[in-house]
Symmetry: C2
Subunit: 419 residues, 2 copies
């Protein structure tokens, strides 16, 4: 490793620490999309960009672009980036690792006094985590001018304010977002590379520091589903008269487990998760048959056909349970995202760099969604590099060894230098 690279990694480490120190929200950290904590991170990165002599731009939605000019600025650019927001009480690395990988590559190039052939832009993407506004890939879609205008008015954060209000409060330009103003043009992008911690245990188990992602799962989601039965006295309502929402919900969960068994038998890859469930605290009691339970369902697969199969079985199971249990499922809005196939040539370039550097890397799919999907679906050659991570993601215990992060930075540095 060159001294310039080593010093760039030390900078990244200091930035990780500064982010953690300023956005701690025990347990873990919280960086709310379009909130104060995400804004703190953007300010920190702007300052870092100035120190590295990078040109700065901000688009209508508040995405930040820090650019190191290449020999020929007319050539399509490299973009390295990720989001800087987090889930509530998440970990310090989900998102931030991709931004700081870009910073580290730029800092290394600067330290080496090297100018690339083409521009290199670090993109700090807004609002990727859809726990804040119930929409996926908000920032990256806005950057391409493809965020539906109604999202500005209908999406509200837990502050009670709309996305438009949040954008206005930070002096961005929601009207331009609504009008579909695009900052990014797919034809002007040579390649998009996102570094992200792996959010599952595969790399750890395989003892490999880096994963090269082949494709990103799409999803369907019901985030405000309810099972509606009837409240009754827990001791006095005979079994045959019950319309027990919790029992009906449990049957649905069990039925979806059977669906998942069937998918595995057929070699289909998917995940099915009921991440939130709750009876109504204003109505429930330990001595009442529960008359209502709310829940979230998140289903992901790389295969659109597989998603539709699960959706069809979900509705079949629900219809049977409704009849048997005297309940009704109220699904609310269906949201989700499309699957994305990543660029084989760019992946091949990364794999070749890894081999030359002696870094072990495996190819793997991503069950989790990422901004990379948006770039890929816009026709941009896109790559996603996973870094090994010990305790899963979207939780306060997520971890990442800085030496594994260093491998990803080295890999990308090599890749853009070799271009």
């Amino acid at each position: 490793m060159t001294p310039a690279l080593r010093s760039a990694l030390a900078l990244a480490e200091r930035l990780f620490d500064e982010l953690r120190a300023h956005t701690t929200d025990a347990p873990g950290i919280t960086r709310a999309a379009y909130g104060e904590s995400e804004q703190f991170a953007h300010e920190l990165l702007k300052r870092t960009g100035r120190e590295l002599g990078l040109a700065q731009a901000i688009d209508a939605a508040g995405n930040l672009y820090l650019t190191m000019p290449g020999e020929d600025s007319e050539l399509p650019s490299w973009i390295i980036g990720s989001h800087i927001d987090s889930v509530p009480h998440g970990g310090n690395f989900d998102g931030a690792a991709g931004v700081l990988a870009g910073i580290a590559v730029a800092a290394a190039l600067k330290g080496e006094g090297r100018q690339l052939k083409r521009n290199l832009t670090i993109m700090v993407i807004r609002a990727e985590e859809s726990t804040w506004f119930p929409v996926s890939y908000l920032g990256s879609r806005a950057a391409f001018g493809i965020l539906p205008a109604e999202a500005l008015e209908t999406c509200r954060a837990d502050t009670g304010l709309t996305l438009r209000s949040h954008m206005e409060a930070l002096d961005f330009r929601p009207d331009a977002v609504a009008a579909g103003e695009a900052y990014l043009d797919p034809a002007r992008i040579h390649g998009f590379i996102e570094v992200h911690i792996e959010q599952g245990p595969v790399l750890e188990r395989e003892d490999v520091p880096v994963g090269l992602v082949t494709g990103i799962a799409g999803s369907f989601r019901y985030r405000e589903a309810r099972c509606l039965g009837a409240y009754g006295h827990s001791g006095a309502v005979p079994r045959a008269d019950r319309q027990d929402a919790v029992v009906a919900f449990a049957e649905l969960v069990a039925a979806l487990e059977q669906t998942w068994d069937g998918l595995e038998r057929d070699g289909e890859r998917a995940t099915i998760t009921f991440g939130e469930v709750g009876t109504d605290p204003t109505q429930h009691a330990f001595s009442k048959v529960p008359g209502e339970v709310g829940f979230c369902l998140d289903v992901r697969s790389e295969s659109a056909a597989c998603l539709e199969r699960i959706h069809a079985e979900l509705r079949q199971h629900a219809a049977i349970i409704e009849q048997r249990r005297g309940v009704r499922f109220d699904w609310g809005e269906r949201t989700g995202s499309s699957a994305a196939v990543l660029d084989p040539a760019l992946r091949q370039l990364l794999a070749a760099s890894a081999e030359r550097l002696g870094i072990r890397a495996i190819e793997m799919p991503s069950g989790a969604g990422h901004d990379t999907s948006v770039f890929a679906n816009q026709g941009v050659p896109a790559a996603l590099v996973f870094v090994r991570n010990q305790n899963g993601s979207h939780n306060p215990d997520e971890a990442m060894r800085i030496e594994d992060f260093a491998r990803a930075v080295e890999l990308i540095h090599r890749c853009v230098v070799a271009d």
Copy 2:
């Protein structure tokens, strides 16, 4: 029906209306044990007692006794009573019907200028609903001096205050309760009669206004149980690596349904209810594998052996699920109450009165617990009279036709007069 009875029922109706008007907490009514709303009801009944010329006494725990002296006060007394607290957002009749039935009987006797052979006491019992303090039959147990002293310190309401503090705030005598001071002596009670709305749909379905209860179910409860797994990213953690608390909980619910199927095949009567369930709002997200779910379990049966069978199967199911799903069940405290057999002679007297008055009545068990249990288990001849009720209980929609309530009042009036 005599004019005195008719006028007594009109008084009861006015009292129901006044209770509802002052304790409405939409949806439904709330009368919190040892709270302002229960206290309002006690004040209303004290005033009513004064207007009817009844003697007034309050015991160390705040139970209220309104007594119409009989010809021979040395004879053991009749007690007619029930509780006046409610579940949160409950209905107006659960509990109150039993108190106002006693008031109506006393008012009718007064209107008729009739003195009974023995004293007739209307007992307004404190804190029957264990949603407030996690203990069953708090008031009636304290009246017999059998409430465990530690309940005063360990039981806290949602106010955050202990039972002792609540009693002190209302000028009652928690030290005397702790010392086991008894206001009631089983040997001095001729019979205890509680009127209560039926909390299930049986009388409505059988088209009968009144039920005479044969026995009251006992229970076991886990009110703060949790299933503990591990949080993870919903898209990134493969199925085999998941420790999904919601899936494990759903399996437990399904397994208990199978246990219930087995009980029904064996002719055992029980109810099994998971009335409250919820993931942790400070940790959960739609995009996280849920690492924890809290729940309440309430199991009831007239048979102690049946309760133990269910408990044993519960623990077996849980052990299997823990192993299969990599989760752990944390049960918390086990609470519950004993089953009670009611007095056949007193029930026979009520049945004979019903026949003479041409009131249709059926014998039935009670799946729900009642203060009557405490009297019966203290050796007092005890009876429980159910009144038909349209929409179940422990919910804001509970209903009771005043003409059905009138039948219960007539029946008891007849029974005490015929003594």
